[in-house]
């Protein structure tokens, strides 16, 4: 896309030679207020020209992306990062525009006219499909929706699921899989002390789930969860971890040869599978643990069984590792054997997926990302992307942080080298456009009011916060109807 440059353009490189406080301010628009949006903005604010300004656009009336709607309610420590984000949002050079759906309320191509730099950081809001028969049955739920439900994401607030079953299968062996398994297995009174929504508490308090099977298609050296999350799962109150020793024994000889972090992770799995529970575990699990979870590896889902109204099981194809040497990049092949795992609930946790918010923006449909080099979108001067939209839906917050800083550094480099033209005397403002379109923008002060309201509501129930889960209700905290 060629952007016509109507006003005289300004060179940051030549400008820098004169003074650092005068000259046109690069106008930056960041789309999405998750970790990527905030960290990319932070890098530009801390290391860019001092007059650079950032507008941060967010689809929802509330900021922080997956820190609010992804991170599990029993992991409040992780959410402390919102203090860093709040500091960034309160920088006088930053404006937060919540409740602004880019692609709908305003187009990316319009933003490209209004700003010198547009950074797309809108994450990955869909999930991958399994593509097996039975996937559409009613108690087959995507982990993403279940996470959205217990975290109060407006579009998942009314999720219908039936927990009046004893056995659940989680397909996928990443951290999201362990998050949803843990929420299903954690004692309800523990969850009551978190910011999990009341709607989710109501459902979970009726749950009869006793066993959760976490199913991976590959082997022990290829699990995608991380050690902290596994350690939590083997130390759950009232819930034992059941690993089949035979599945893990062959890996005893290779574990010492592995490198960190794979080494420590494998050792913890081996310990769980091959040695008796520790005293700490026995104490936590109790003499007759009412619940258990099992890690089942080398199983590919072939079909989900059941009728329209209920799930009865999952048909699994048994795989084996190909070749004699046990390594992390070993392929798996089917043995041809098929088995049925009986269960009444299936949670699909096989990864998130980004979407194209509007026709015409560069998008790699196959990889589900915006094509980019270090965040820079080829042939689109001034257009960048960061976070899961740029890297794919992988990595924890510290990864997203580092990648976002890298994108920020690339942008500053491009400004210095004059690869981005900075227009002087911009008169058109996003705000004018939004006023014309009567978009009810929620600014950061508004969010702080919502935040306070939610905390007060939570305090009345002994929770850190009770989330408001409807967009209209969120808006009505701060705007008159």
């Amino acid at each position: 896309m060629f952007r016509p440059c109507l006003r005289p353009s300004f060179s940051w490189a030549s400008f820098r030679r004169y003074t650092s406080t005068e000259g046109p301010a690069p106008r930056v628009c960041v789309v999405g207020s998750g970790p990527a949006g905030f960290y990319t903005a932070q890098h530009l604010l801390n290391h860019g020209p001092p007059q650079l300004r950032v507008d941060l656009l967010e689809r929802l009336p509330v900021p922080f992306g997956l820190v609010r709607f992804g991170v599990a309610p029993d992991h409040p420590e992780v959410k402390n990062v919102d203090h860093t984000f709040t500091k960034i949002a309160k920088n006088p050079r930053v404006q937060f525009y919540g409740n602004l759906h880019v692609g709908v309320d305003v187009k990316v191509r319009e933003l490209r006219q209004l700003y010198d730099i547009v950074i797309l950081s809108y994450g990955a809001a869909q999930d991958r499909k399994l593509g097996v028969p039975g996937e559409e049955l009613s108690n087959v739920i995507s982990a993403r929706s279940f996470v959205g439900f217990y975290n109060g994401l407006p579009e998942d607030a009314a999720l219908a699921m039936n927990l009046d079953v004893e056995d659940a299968a989680v397909i996928g062996i990443g951290n999201v899989a362990l998050d949803v398994a843990r929420v299903l297995l954690t004692p309800i009174d523990t969850l009551r002390q978190t910011d999990i929504t009341d709607a989710a508490l109501a459902q979970l308090s009726q749950s009869r789930i006793k066993r959760v099977f976490v199913i991976g298609r590959r082997g022990p050296l290829q699990v995608s969860f991380t050690i902290k999350e596994l350690r939590e799962m083997v130390n759950l109150e009232g819930c034992s971890a059941v690993f089949n020793p035979d599945d893990f024994r062959p890996f005893q000889s290779v574990a010492p040869l592995l490198k960190r972090p794979r080494k420590r992770l494998t050792e913890l799995m081996l310990k769980t599978a091959l040695t008796p529970p520790t005293e700490k575990q026995l104490k936590l699990w109790g003499p007759a643990p009412p619940k258990s979870w099992e890690l089942r590896l080398l199983r590919s889902p072939l079909a989900i069984l059941g009728s329209d109204s209920s799930v009865s099981g999952v048909q699994l194809g048994v795989n084996r590792l190909d070749g004699p040497n046990l390594t992390e990049d070993q392929a798996v092949v089917s043995t041809g054997e098929v088995e049925t795992l009986e269960c009444g609930l299936v949670l699909k946790s096989i990864g998130y997926k980004s979407v194209k918010v509007e026709e015409g923006i560069p998008f790699d449909e196959q990889r589900g990302v915006i094509p980019n080099v270090n965040g820079k979108v080829p042939d689109e001067p001034g257009l960048y992307c960061s976070g899961w939209l740029a890297t794919g839906p992988k990595g924890v917050i510290v990864d997203t942080m580092n990648e976002s800083y890298r994108v920020g550094a690339q942008i500053l480099e491009d400004l210095k080298l004059d690869h981005i033209s900075v227009q002087a005397n911009r008169t058109e403002e996003l705000r004018t456009l939004l006023d014309q379109r009567q978009v009810k923008v929620v600014n950061f002060v508004d969010w702080e009011k919502i935040d306070e309201t939610e905390k007060l509501w939570g305090a009345s129930k002994g929770k850190p916060r009770e989330k408001i889960t409807e967009v209209q209700s969120l808006i009505s905290v701060v705007k008159k109807p």
Binding site: E77, V78, V81, K228, R231, D399, N402
Partner: protein
């Protein structure tokens, strides 16, 4: 700030002089040297060095925060062992002198850190002692070319 500080302290073993009740103090042998100051140098990833005074018993995250040492993203989870952004690299001799023993939980988080070395620790888990006076710790590169 003070409140957040307290929360952080409550979560782990480090103890800060100004926050402890006098009854607790008596139990810690090193507390007698509270008023003693030590110095720490942070070698930032852009090559700059920043030296600051700290109190014995303060952990390295608090030292960074209190002295406004300029490290982007440092201490995201505020010392609750949930982020690994407070990763610091020590010289072997200094590393060996650290009193706070590394726990499985710290190693779990370190496993996610960038530029992990054999002498890496999480700053929020390491408290200053007399023995560590004058140390220089390296802040790992975060914008590294990994791929």
């Amino acid at each position: 700030m003070a409140l957040r500080h307290l929360g952080r302290m409550a979560m782990k073993k480090c103890w800060a002089p100004r926050l402890l009740a006098s009854s607790q103090r008596a139990f810690h042998p090193s507390l007698a040297r509270f008023d003693q100051e030590v110095s720490v140098t942070f070698e930032l990833s852009d090559g700059r060095k920043q030296t600051t005074q700290a109190k014995i018993g303060q952990n390295l995250l608090d030292i960074v925060v209190d002295n406004e040492i300029d490290i982007d993203g440092f201490g995201a989870c505020e010392g609750t062992l949930a982020c690994s952004t407070c990763h610091l690299i020590f010289k072997q001799a200094d590393f060996d002198r650290i009193q706070d023993e590394v726990t499985d939980e710290e190693l779990d988080m370190l496993d996610l850190a960038y530029d992990l070395t054999d002498t890496s620790r999480l700053g929020c888990q390491v408290c200053m002692t007399k023995e560590l006076d004058g140390i220089s710790v390296k802040v790992p590169e975060s914008i590294n070319d990994q791929r």
